[in-house]
Point group: C2
Chain length 453, copies 2
């Protein structure tokens, strides 16, 4: 049995819904269909979710909502007309949305969640109606009725353990089950949405609860690439990748799937298949617990800008029990999360995203480290890029570091820092931001496209 | 003006004292002479300090001390006879030691410190007497009178700030000043010793207090080697090295000078010259604040065995503010100090010396990390060696990492981990203990003795 999730662009028009239908019915294992709200039909189009957010914001400010409300309805209507669905379905959607719009505004974030959730909820009803019109047994599943119980955190809900238990009984329902993504209900019966891209999370929760054999995630790319296509032209596609590798690559430039969305599937060991709705015969990328080591130690290279390094040195630091813990405690007081802490004997650097603080906080941090830790030297190096070279095979492949560092030296990139952990799925290189593209290209050439001399 | 310190083997016999005298008078800048207690004359010999510890331990247990007491006196007597010094000096030493032996035993660690300190104290009197007999103006300096005030920590005293002020006036005393190393006096007037090898510390404090131009440290090796001579035969000698490089190398195998001893000289920017009493014309090694970059990015390679790595992984660890701080807090609760913390996105390893804990504590640590941090995986990898490749020039020398990692790959050594900090004086490689020698040899060949192909 497979849980199949379709993203917004896969459900943006009647033509897209026909593709979705053909994909679902072509494999009898595809039992549960998780849907997003209708997405963009063309680059300048507006997603239904964004229209709903605008509508809710206007309503909360007591501004006129007619125009944006009708824009939402029009999106569903366009699809329904294209598919010659009966008018009733649009009336049902209009009724639902009107009710939400005129609902209780005393708790604005809950109001917002109810409005946003309607995008997926109503789309699921529409999709189910279309499937039935095409002659297959299909049911819209209400997450409340099905028991998708979540924590009461607006915009950041988490599925509660009992949700898995309740949802598991969906397995015994007949027909194709069309389930709206992105939200669940609190124990008190209120709507709460997951974080953005939350439909991926719904699919992953259902795959876990129903012990699916596979969680298929249909989007608009053929596969996950081994490197960011905006840096390297036509990069190699990844056929199979482990959860850990995917997570390391998600550092940057690999945002096909929401990190958090993988967790429920990962915990249950269910493989996740990324596929393209617009090109369903393409092999796609499969995310698995273990993979066969194929060619080469590296599976992908990710990079991101916008990091800085707080450097702290103190003679005999190494002898001071508690130094590192105190340093991290200071950063925690400022609410900062950090990425790595490479260290020498008497110095330590903390690498973190620089958008977390401004000049003023920076000075406060330096001041506290100097005063409280009696450091000899504290300074911040800005504009760093981190490059992750990722691959499960890397650890026991002697010479990978030599190849990577030589490739960087050849193109004259200075390695500002290196961090290679213990159980190795990745090597991290810190370079100056201006060297990022050159460095990624050189590493890609080394591991994926050796140039003949 | 120079402060000159002589180690125990440089003062072990009359013949050695003659060398010391010739060294001191050959340079009129050598004003302050810091002496250790007489050391070993031959491999099986016993140092006076060790005899004194035995004597103090026996006395504290009310056992007979005559034999070991006389063994101490005999060492001074042998030297005095060899140098035909008047009998009075030995009588003075005997009187002093008898008084200490019969002193207050109510605080055993202070009694021990008084007994140990006599080794240096009496040797300074002997050396001053010999210098005077040779016709130069020389004075024994009593640390109490000179104002070397220290904290009251037996065996681990620290010089107090006011000590520097008091000692500075020694500058205006005439003649050569012979100062006993290893101890000072508390404000209450009691003897407290520095940590082992504390005579190096005394010399460094005096160099700082007297604003010396140079702190010469005479020992029994020609120079600091670029690599451990027990791993690489006849390694290159280091002519000039910075404090930071010296400190990184002191990690292992470079124990010529006590780390802590460098601090006072380092803070005052006074260079430290390592020289050989038995071969004073050899250039030796100079430890400086800055050095001219000569040939190659690497100045030395140090390595040590006996490390282990605690590996902790948890999916989405990267998102958890406070994870690293909590992990280090647990280790701190066990009193453990750590060396490095290389990390991936969702894993972190803590590298530490494995002699700090046993099997039982290991299990407790793993248990606490699993329970309190909800880690997915926690395990310990034993028998690791750390190799430090050290050099100030390394940071801006593109390709150093490529050369190092290629050298290791060539001899088939797997790099278990790499840690390269921010302001780089060193690169750290973790390898299996069994690969240590092979790895060090390969790195030495790469950076110091390139083999022709």
């Amino acid at each position: 049995m497979k849980v199949v999730k379709f993203g917004g662009s896969s459900l943006a028009s009647g033509a897209q819904l026909k593709k979705v239908f053909n994909i679902v019915v072509s494999d009898p294992e595809r039992k549960v269909v998780v849907v997003s709200a209708p997405g963009k039909r063309f680059a300048e189009d507006i997603k239904v979710t964004d229209l709903l957010i605008e509508c809710a914001e206007k309503s909360l400010k007591n501004e006129k909502t007619d125009q944006v409300f009708e824009a939402v309805i029009a999106r569903y209507q366009d699809i329904a007309e294209e598919l010659t669905l009966p008018e009733e379905i649009i009336q049902e959607i209009r009724l639902d949305l009107t009710e939400r719009l005129n609902g209780d505004k005393s708790k604005p974030d809950r109001y917002m969640d109810r409005m946003k959730a309607s995008g997926e909820d109503n789309n699921a009803k529409l999709v189910a109606a279309f499937f039935r019109k095409m002659g297959v047994e299909a049911h819209y599943i209400d997450p409340k009725e099905a028991g998708l119980i979540v924590s009461d955190e607006p915009g950041n809900a988490q599925a509660l353990p009992e949700a898995y238990e309740s949802l598991s009984s969906l397995r015994w329902r007949s027909g194709i089950l069309v389930f709206p993504g992105f939200f669940g209900y609190s124990k008190a019966g209120d709507v709460y949405t997951f974080s953005r891209s939350g439909s991926d999370i719904t699919g992953s929760i259902l795959a876990n609860a129903l012990k699916a054999d596979l969680y298929e995630n249909f989007t608009d790319v053929d596969a996950v690439y081994s490197v960011n296509p905006s840096i390297v032209e036509k990069p190699k596609e990844i056929k199979e990748i482990t959860y850990r590798e995917m997570r390391e690559l998600s550092y940057a430039g690999f945002s096909v799937l929401h990190d958090e969305a993988l967790v429920p599937a990962f915990r249950a060991g269910i493989p996740v298949q990324i596929k393209n709705t617009n090109n369903p015969t393409a092999q796609g990328t499969k995310i698995v617990a273990d993979r066969n080591n194929t060619n080469g130690p590296v599976i992908g290279i990710a990079s991101d800008k916008g990091f800085c390094s707080i450097y702290v040195s103190k003679y005999l630091m190494n002898r001071e029990i508690g130094f590192g813990r105190k340093l991290l405690g200071i950063l925690e007081d400022f609410g900062l999360s950090y990425e790595h802490t490479p260290s020498g004997i008497d110095d330590i650097s903390v690498i973190l995203r620089e958008n977390q603080f401004d000049k003023e906080m920076e000075e406060q941090i330096i001041d506290r480290i100097k005063t409280e830790l009696h450091a000899d030297q504290v300074f911040i190096q800005h504009k760093l890029a981190l490059i992750m070279v990722v691959g499960e095979g890397m650890r026991h492949n002697i010479g990978t570091m030599a190849r990577a560092s030589k490739a960087l030296a050849k193109v004259n990139v200075n390695i500002e820092m290196i961090n290679q952990g213990s159980s190795e799925v990745s090597m991290m290189f810190g370079v100056k931001e201006i060297d990022e593209k050159k460095a990624v290209q050189a590493l890609y050439n080394e591991f994926f496209a050796p140039v003949m001399v």
